[in-house]
């Protein structure tokens, strides 16, 4: 097991190198930070500062090596589009903000997706199944920004017209320390619901499919033939098996959630990683873009590893050696 983890971590290194090199190169060739200055009336000094910052006078591979050399030492450089703050600190800070949405969202999503998926599989072709299916298609087909804005209108505007109160905030992050528990919760609800709908929709479909496959399997029949109560059959024998394929999906979804939900963060003015990445891209802040990308890449790698390890826990047929 330990050897497996070590091997997996080692194999991700070339992966990360190739990935970061590709992103670095694409970023570097697609957006010349100097191009923006071309439309402005500026002195050579303004160019020189940017050239110095990003080593623009060097070829891209060399720039990448310089970046990488600093990055592996924990120095991801200053972020010009964020007042020169250290990229590393910025990414960590924003990652925490994103986590405030991602972690509760993840658990709520997992619980509801499993529940809906299991119920609709067990009660296949029932009214509930059709309802869950309809909900899933709505969630999958409704663009996030439409749903997010709709929630704002419903709870921020209409709710007030109907009931004279506004239960939730429609924008901005609020913390317990600064605003107290109540406001913290009121600010988190709508973005979490937005994340929830989209991901739950797809996860519950996966869960339903996995569960359907399992409950039609022979070992479920065996379990029933043993005289086990239905609940034990479904939850112990069925769900335990149906969760195995879901683990990968959870890992990916969690990594994506933690990597920042660009649309949701944009609509709810949430200071998370997604918006930070957008800022990096739009303002041609190479250090920042790379910082966020590396962080997200690391998240994906780590959670894939966790998923693989969880597989081993859930499915004894899998061995790591």
């Amino acid at each position: 097991m330990f050897a497996y983890v070590v091997r997996r971590v080692l194999t991700t290194i070339p992966l990360l190198l190739i990935g970061t090199f590709l992103v670095f190169t694409l970023t570097a060739i697609s957006g010349d930070p100097l191009a923006r200055l071309a439309q402005l009336d500026v002195d050579q000094a303004a160019y020189d500062r940017l050239i110095d910052l990003y080593n623009l006078d060097q070829p891209i591979p060399q720039r990448y090596v310089s970046w990488l050399t600093s990055a592996v030492q924990g120095d991801m450089g200053p972020s010009p589009s964020q007042g020169g703050q250290q990229t590393f600190d910025l990414v960590l800070g924003r990652a925490l903000n994103t986590a405030r949405l991602a972690i509760p969202a993840f658990f709520i999503i997992a619980i509801t997706a499993v529940t809906l998926g299991v119920y609709s599989a067990v009660k296949q072709y029932s009214k509930l199944d059709y309802f869950v299916t309809g909900f899933s298609f709505l969630g999958i087909s409704l663009p996030t920004f439409v749903f997010g804005l709709l929630l704002q209108v419903i709870f921020g505007i209409w709710w007030f017209d109907w009931f004279g109160a506004r239960p939730f905030f429609v924008q901005g992050m609020r913390t317990v320390a600064q605003h107290g528990w109540l406001d913290m919760v009121r600010a988190h609800v709508l973005p979490i619901i937005t994340l929830w709908l989209v991901i739950t929709a797809s996860e519950s479909r996966f869960q339903r499919a996995a569960m359907l496959e399992v409950i039609n399997s022979d070992y479920i029949r065996t379990a029933r033939a043993k005289g086990l109560p239905r609940r034990t059959v479904i939850l112990k024998h069925g769900l335990r098996n149906a969760l195995i394929p879901l683990v990968t999906i959870w890992a990916i979804d969690f990594a994506l959630l933690l990597g920042g939900a660009v649309v949701t963060e944009t609509i709810f003015a949430w200071p998370g990683l997604g918006r930070l990445l957008l800022a990096g891209i739009f303002q041609q802040d190479l250090n920042l873009t790379m910082g966020v990308v590396v962080f997200i890449a690391a998240l994906v790698v780590v959670f894939n590893l966790i998923a693989d390890l969880l597989y081993g826990v859930l499915d004894p047929r899998i061995r790591y050696d």
Binding site: S217, D218, Y219, R221, T222, A223, R224, A225, K226, G227, L228, P229, R230, T232, H237, R240, N241, I244, L314, D315, P316, R317
Partner: protein, 340 residues
């Protein structure tokens, strides 16, 4: 070997499924009796209704099936039992062994735990430790080597034959009165089949259970079953003691089944002669005798009127054929009835 009170008494069992194409009548008026301790072989091609009948006894048919008739087990009609009451019998009084041992065990629990679970659900007073000891004994009984170690193995660590042995151990764990084995050796390697049959017989002896052996393979039945019930198209076609079926079958379908079975004794230039045609549609069964389209002996009467299951003069041999009495005698020298 047989006593007079049946352990299991199935009367006029009819099982239908609703499908998009229409009502599928998988079992059509089946009668079946089993007596304590005996072994009854239920033989037929796929689609003959033999497995569905067994599932009806086990209470494992999906809720959307329509079941009519009665299935009395020790005098209680199982079809009228609540799910909860039925559960008390499942795996306890009546147990089942399934066809494919590769998929019949849950891959994520150890073999031992699955048997222990089966014991403790019916006997919660038995401690985990005691159940575990019992499980090890059972594994030993069914011939699993090193049962004390193997009890903690997962199914994937067992070979196919060992898994079926484990399934047998699971089935007999609560010393059932009725053991239903649904094609228990079909998925196994031929070399293993005989061993598993042997284990089943041992298990049956150890528990004194009656066993319903469901198979399509008449060859398997010979040394095992006391009685044979042949099914076709959801109906019983012939029923008698094993020797009678083998040597004095009075049904063209049974005879067809016999000629389609390979034997070690068969000469190399003998061709197997499968029954021509396909089993009847369960939605639109043929008019008259359901076997008529495939029957060599079919005459006009078979078209006009479905034959009834009728007793012969001995009073111990049932056959569903208009011409049961007129069929030629089987050659005595060829026990499998292959005419030269």
């Amino acid at each position: 070997m047989t006593s007079t009170t049946p352990l299991l008494d199935i009367r006029d069992l009819t099982v239908s499924f609703k499908t998009d194409d229409g009502l599928v009548r998988a079992v059509n008026g089946v009668d079946l009796q089993m007596f304590p301790g005996e072994t009854l072989a239920v033989v037929g091609e796929s689609g003959s209704g033999k497995s569905v009948s067994a599932m009806a006894v086990m209470g494992l048919l999906p809720s959307y099936t329509q079941i009519e008739g009665s299935v009395e087990f020790e005098g209680t009609d199982l079809l009228k039992l609540s799910t909860r009451a039925m559960r008390k019998l499942q795996g306890n009084e009546i147990a089942m062994i399934f066809q494919d041992p590769m998929t019949a065990l849950n891959p994520v629990f150890t073999v031992g735990n699955q048997i222990i679970e089966g014991i403790r659900i019916h006997h919660p007073q038995i401690s985990k430790q005691a159940a575990r000891e019992r499980t090890i004994e059972l594994l030993a009984l069914v011939g699993i080597p090193e049962p004390r170690q193997r009890v903690d193995n997962y199914p994937h660590e067992f070979s196919g034959g060992m898994r079926q042995r484990a399934m047998i151990a699971l089935a007999i764990a609560n010393e059932p009165k009725l053991l239903i084995a649904d094609e228990p050796t079909t998925a196994l390697d031929v070399t293993i089949q005989a061993q598993v049959l042997e284990v089943m017989r041992t298990a049956q002896e150890a528990t004194g259970a009656a066993m319903m052996l469901i198979t399509h393979d008449l060859g398997l039945v010979a040394g095992v079953a006391d009685r044979v019930q042949v099914m076709y198209g959801g109906r019983v076609f012939e029923m008698s003691d094993t020797d009678t079926i083998f040597y004095r079958s009075r049904n063209p379908y049974t005879r067809g089944l016999m000629t389609s079975v390979p034997t070690a004794a068969a000469r190399t230039d003998d061709r197997l002669s499968p029954i021509p045609g396909a089993p009847p549609s369960a939605i639109n069964p043929p008019r008259g005798c359901v076997f008529r389209p495939r029957c060599q002996h079919a005459e006009d009467a078979c078209y006009e009127e479905p034959p009834l299951l009728a007793l012969d003069a001995t009073g111990r041999h049932l056959s569903r054929c208009h011409f049961a009495e007129e069929l030629p005698e089987l050659g005595a020298q060829d026990e499998l009835g292959r005419s030269a």
